[in-house]
Symmetry: C2
Subunit: 650 residues, 2 copies
Amino acid sequence: MRAKRAIWAVAAFAVIALAIAGPQSCTRGPAGASVGELARERGLSEADITAALKTYLPTGQLDEYVMFSSGGHSGQVLVIGVPSMRLLKVIAAFTPEPWQGYGYGAGGTMEALEGGLVNGKEVLWGDTHHPAISETDGEYDGQFLFIDDKANARVAVISLKDFETKQVLHNPLMGSDHGATFVTPNTEYVIQSSQYAVPLDGSYADLSEYQERYRGAVTFWKFDRAAGRIDPSRSFTLELPPYWQDLADAGKGPSMGWVFLGSFNTEMATGGIETTGVPFEAGASANDMDYLHAINWQRAEQVYQSGNGLRRIQGMSVIPLDVSISEGLLYLIPEPKSPHGADVTPDGRMIVTAGKLDPHVSVYSFEKIQDAIANETFSGRDPFGVAILDFDAVLEAQVELGLGPLHTQFDGRGGAYTSLFIETAVAKWSLEDFTLKEKIGVHYNIGHLAAAEGDTRTPDGNYLVALNKWSIDRFMPVGPLHPQNFQLIDVTGEPMQLLYDMPIGIGEPHYAQIIKADKLDPWLVYPEVGFSPHAMASDPNAVSSGEERIERNGNRVDVYMTAIRSHFTPEHIKVRQGDRVRIYLTSLETIRDGTHGFAIDKHNINVSLEPGESEVVEFVADQAGVYPFYCSEFCSALHLEMVGYLLVEP
Amino acid sequence: MRAKRAIWAVAAFAVIALAIAGPQSCTRGPAGASVGELARERGLSEADITAALKTYLPTGQLDEYVMFSSGGHSGQVLVIGVPSMRLLKVIAAFTPEPWQGYGYGAGGTMEALEGGLVNGKEVLWGDTHHPAISETDGEYDGQFLFIDDKANARVAVISLKDFETKQVLHNPLMGSDHGATFVTPNTEYVIQSSQYAVPLDGSYADLSEYQERYRGAVTFWKFDRAAGRIDPSRSFTLELPPYWQDLADAGKGPSMGWVFLGSFNTEMATGGIETTGVPFEAGASANDMDYLHAINWQRAEQVYQSGNGLRRIQGMSVIPLDVSISEGLLYLIPEPKSPHGADVTPDGRMIVTAGKLDPHVSVYSFEKIQDAIANETFSGRDPFGVAILDFDAVLEAQVELGLGPLHTQFDGRGGAYTSLFIETAVAKWSLEDFTLKEKIGVHYNIGHLAAAEGDTRTPDGNYLVALNKWSIDRFMPVGPLHPQNFQLIDVTGEPMQLLYDMPIGIGEPHYAQIIKADKLDPWLVYPEVGFSPHAMASDPNAVSSGEERIERNGNRVDVYMTAIRSHFTPEHIKVRQGDRVRIYLTSLETIRDGTHGFAIDKHNINVSLEPGESEVVEFVADQAGVYPFYCSEFCSALHLEMVGYLLVEP
C-alpha cells in the first residue's frame, strides 16, 4: 500500500518536475493553476513553498506527533497534530464542557469534578499551565496526562485511552500552584509546587506575619498506574520557604531522585502599591539572585515512609522545613534573576535556568551540586536555615542569549533552545561549547517552547513549537481579545526555519509536550458494550438490549435505557413532579461512528455516549411540563427522529 | 509594499522553476529539501501541492474570508479563517468559558447569561445549530451574529465589534428549536422555529392529547440594530401545527417578505417503541410527503401590529393558527420526504428543499406559489385547516442527486451544491437546466455545507466548506469521541477540488456562514479607557488612575481597582468574613497586547480585561483565609508579579 503510493507519487512528481521548467510551460493542477502561478498569486517565497509542503497533509494522512498543550485559563487541554498544527481535541479538565458531556449530568464526570471541590465549593474553571505525559524510564509512555490548575491549586489526571479526565484533586495546602505538573522518570510521583505563598493550614494571617505564617510547598502526588489515579493517602508534601516557587523539572539518569524548582520573590515582598508605593513587581525583583531549590525526593520519600517528624496539615502529610534541613532533603542554589524555567538536560547531567531579568541562561552541573552538598560548600543559609550552595562552585557555564530568557528545550544532539520573551525570539545554543548559535524571530513574545519528545532522555530534534503570546496582527482580527500564536519551527538543520503559524482561539497555553504519535494507543470505541469510562471497567448497571424498563420506588424512578441508532428505549418517561429520576444509559453501539448524545431540554443535562459507553444521570424533576429529550450528535440520517419525551405530571 | 513582495516572489519562483527541471538538479530550500524531494517524502500528488499552496498563508498573511460556525453542543461559535482553516476564536455563547471571562464573575457576562435563564433555572450549555450574520439588503453586513440553542430554545446575539455575546434569550413557547437562527434581508427579524412540539403554555399534557394540546411555533424576534439587542416587546410568534419544523430560510428580492420552513413528522407520531414497538424514526417517516411552510412574515407583522386576534402566552404575543389561516399568513407545500434544508436561491425566485429519505432536490417557484395562493390551487387542507398548495402547481423541477440530500448552497453563477449525507458526497447541479454536473466524495457523512457569501444575494463561488461528521480515520485518533471534519473545496472550476481537512476538536458544528473578511471591522482595543462591553458605552463606574480606593458601607465593600502592566491597584483587599465585595475593575491599557486577566484563587472568578475594558465583579467573602488574586494573562515579563492578596478576616 505504502510502496504503491510512493511509486505513484514519484511518477506524479516527475510530471510536475518536468513541466515546471519555466513560467511559460507550467503544468496546470486540477484547479487550473500551476505551482508557479499559485506561488506568485499568494506571494509565496521559496521558504514558504517548502513550509507549505512540510506541513500539508492530504486527507487521511496522519501526523507524526501529537502535542498536548495546556489551555491556560480555559481550564482545558488542547490536543494538536504536528506538523499539521491541527487542533484534534479540546479535553475538558477543570471546566465543564458539554460536547464531551463533561459536567452536564454524566455520573462519572460529575464524580471527577466533585473531586476538585475547593473547600467544599464548586470551582468550575481552571488555569491550566503545565501538562505532563506519563513517563517510563524517562521516556513518554503515552498512557496518562497530568495537568494543573494554577488558580485553585488542583491537579487532573487524564487517560490517553479515551482522552478523558478521570480525576481532579485539590491541594488544600496551596493558594495557587505553578511548578505543576511534572513527573518523575517512572511517574512514581506527580509534582505540584506552590506559587503565591499562603498559610499552609488554610487559616487567616495578616501580611505583617508573612515570614512567620506564610509558606510555600511542594507536593509529591503518588500515582497508582494500575488504578489510573493519584493516591492522596500515599502522597507527601515538603514545606518550603515563602518564596514564590516557579517551574520544576525532575532529574533523570545521574540526577534521578532529585527535582529542581525555580523561585522568585525570595525578597518576600508583600506589595501594597496603594500605601507603600512599591508594587509587587518592583519589590519582588529587587535582588540580583533568587534560589533554585534542589530537592532529594527519593530521600524525602524515605523520610515520609518512616513517619519521623511529619506533620499532618489539612489531611496531608507534610515534612516540616526543619526536618528537610536536618535530613538533607532541600538545598538552595543562587540563580539570577526572577527566573522562570528550570530544565534538566536529556542526559540528566545539567540543569538550565533562565532569569527573565537577566540575559543569560545559567547551567548548573549536577555533579558539582552533589560535591558542594557533600563538602558543605555553602555560601550561607537563608532566613529559614536552608543551606545555600556556593554559586561559583556549582555553576557549569553561563551563556548570554538576549532579553527575557524563559524556558529551554533540547534537540538530543547537544542543541538547546531558549525562548526569549522580551526579544521575541528563540535562541539556539550549544550544550557542548556553551555558545550562542543562532536566533529566529517569533510573533510575538514567546513564553514556553516545546520540542518533539523534548522532555525525554532522547529528544527527536526535528520540530520545535514556539508558544507565543498575543498574535496582534498575524491573523484576521477577531476583536480585542487576540488569539495566541503557536509557531512551528523546523530545527533539523541550520538556520532554523519557521514553518507554520497556528492561532489559539481558545485559552492561553503555557506549556506543551510533543509525543511521537505511535506511542499513543487510544481506544477507537470502548472495549465492550456497557463499559464505564469512570471505572474503566464493565459497568454493573449497564443495560442490555431487551432489559430496558422503568422502576419506581416511592418518589425515586429508575430508568434503564439503551441507545442505538436511531432510537432510545424507552422513548417515554413519565414521572411526577418532585420525583428523583435516575437514568442508567447504555450505548449498544460497537462501531466508530456510533456516538450518541443524550440531552434533556431545559434540564442542564447533556451526555456524550461513545460506542459501548455506560453512564448514569440523576436529577430531580422539579418542574411539571413536557420535555423532549434527544440525541445531540448527528448520528444517522434519522438522527432528528432519535427523540423521546420526559413527561413531568404536576 | 505589496508590489515589492510580488516582484520578489516572482524572482524567487523563477529560481525554483528553473531549478526543478528534474530530480537531479533540485534546488534546496533553507531546510535543505527541494519541492520534489518534499513532495515525494510526504507522498504528495500534484493536486496536493496545489492544495498546499492554495491554503498556506505565510506568517502574518491574512485570510480572505472568515467563517462563523456553530459549535454544536459545545454551546459556542467557532470563528475560522478561510482558506487557511485556522481556528481564530471560540466565542462563548451559551456555555460559560473562563478564558474569555464569560460567566465567571464579570458583571456584563453574568447579565447576558441571566437573560438565558430557563423557567428561572440556570442552564449552562447550549446546542448551537445555525449561526446567522446580520444582513442589509440581503448581503452580510458583518455587524452582528445570531445563534440558537436547540436544546433549550434560546437565541444569542453576538457583536462583531468585539466578538462577544451580548444577549441570551429564552423562548418559553418552545421545547426545543431547529429553524434558528435565520434573518430577514435587513435583519428586521431573527427567526426561530420550534422542533419537537410541546404545549405552548408550558403546561403538562399527556401524549394522548398530542394533536389537541401540542403545537409548533415560529417566533420573529425584533432586532434593534441601534441597541444591538433583540427587543422581545416588539417580537411576535405564529402558532404552528405540531409537526416538527426544521430548517428555515427567508425570501429575498421577489420573495422578500416570506419565510420558508421545512418540517417532518407531519405524521404526528408520538413514539413509544417500548410499548407500541414503533419507534419515532419509523412513525415519523411513514408519509411520502411532509410540508414546507410558506409564511408571509410582512403580513404577519401587520396583523401583530394591529393586535387583532392575538393571544398572550407566557408573556409572548402569539398569532393563533386560525388567524394565520384566515389572514393568509401560512400555507403548506408538499415536500418529499422528511426534509432537512429549505434554501432560497440567491435571486429569490426559487426555494430548494431536500428530503433526506428521497434522492431528489425539489425546486419550487416562488411565482408559482403566489399564483397557487391567489388562485387557491389547493390539494386540500391539513387537520388544522391550513391550505396545502398543489404540489405539481408550484414545483419548478426535481433533480435526482443521490442518497440523503440535506442542504443546498449556491455559487452565484447558476451552480447549486447539495450535501449528500448517506452517499457522503457533495453534488453540484445547475439551477439553469436542473441537471446534475458532478460529485465529490467527502470524509464522511456531510451535514451542512457553507459557501463563501453563500446565503447572500451574491455568493462568491470560490470556496465551499463541507461540514462533515465524525472523521473516524482522517486524523490521529484521540479516543472514542472522534472530531468532526471540515473539508475545504475549491469550486472555482470543474472538477471541484478538495483542498484541506480541518478537524473540529470542540463541538459538533451544524451550520456555518462565510463572510468576506473585509466586511468585518472589529475593534482591536476598546474605543476608550473605561468602556463597558455590555453597555457598549462608557462605564459610569469606570475607575481612573489615582482614584483607586476601597469603601466600606456596613458589610458591603466596594473596591475601585485599576489594572495596568504589571500591577493591580490596590494590591491588598482586606475584608471580613461575610462581607459582600464588589470590585469595579478598569483596564488602563490602550494598546493591542494589553489584555489582563483577573483571577481570585478559589472563588470561581476569572475576568478577561481587554484594553480599556471596565467590569464589575461581585461576591460574598464567605470563607476566612488568604486568597491571592493575579493576572491570568501572560501580559509582560513581570506578569507573574502582577498579583495581590484578598485577605478575609474571620
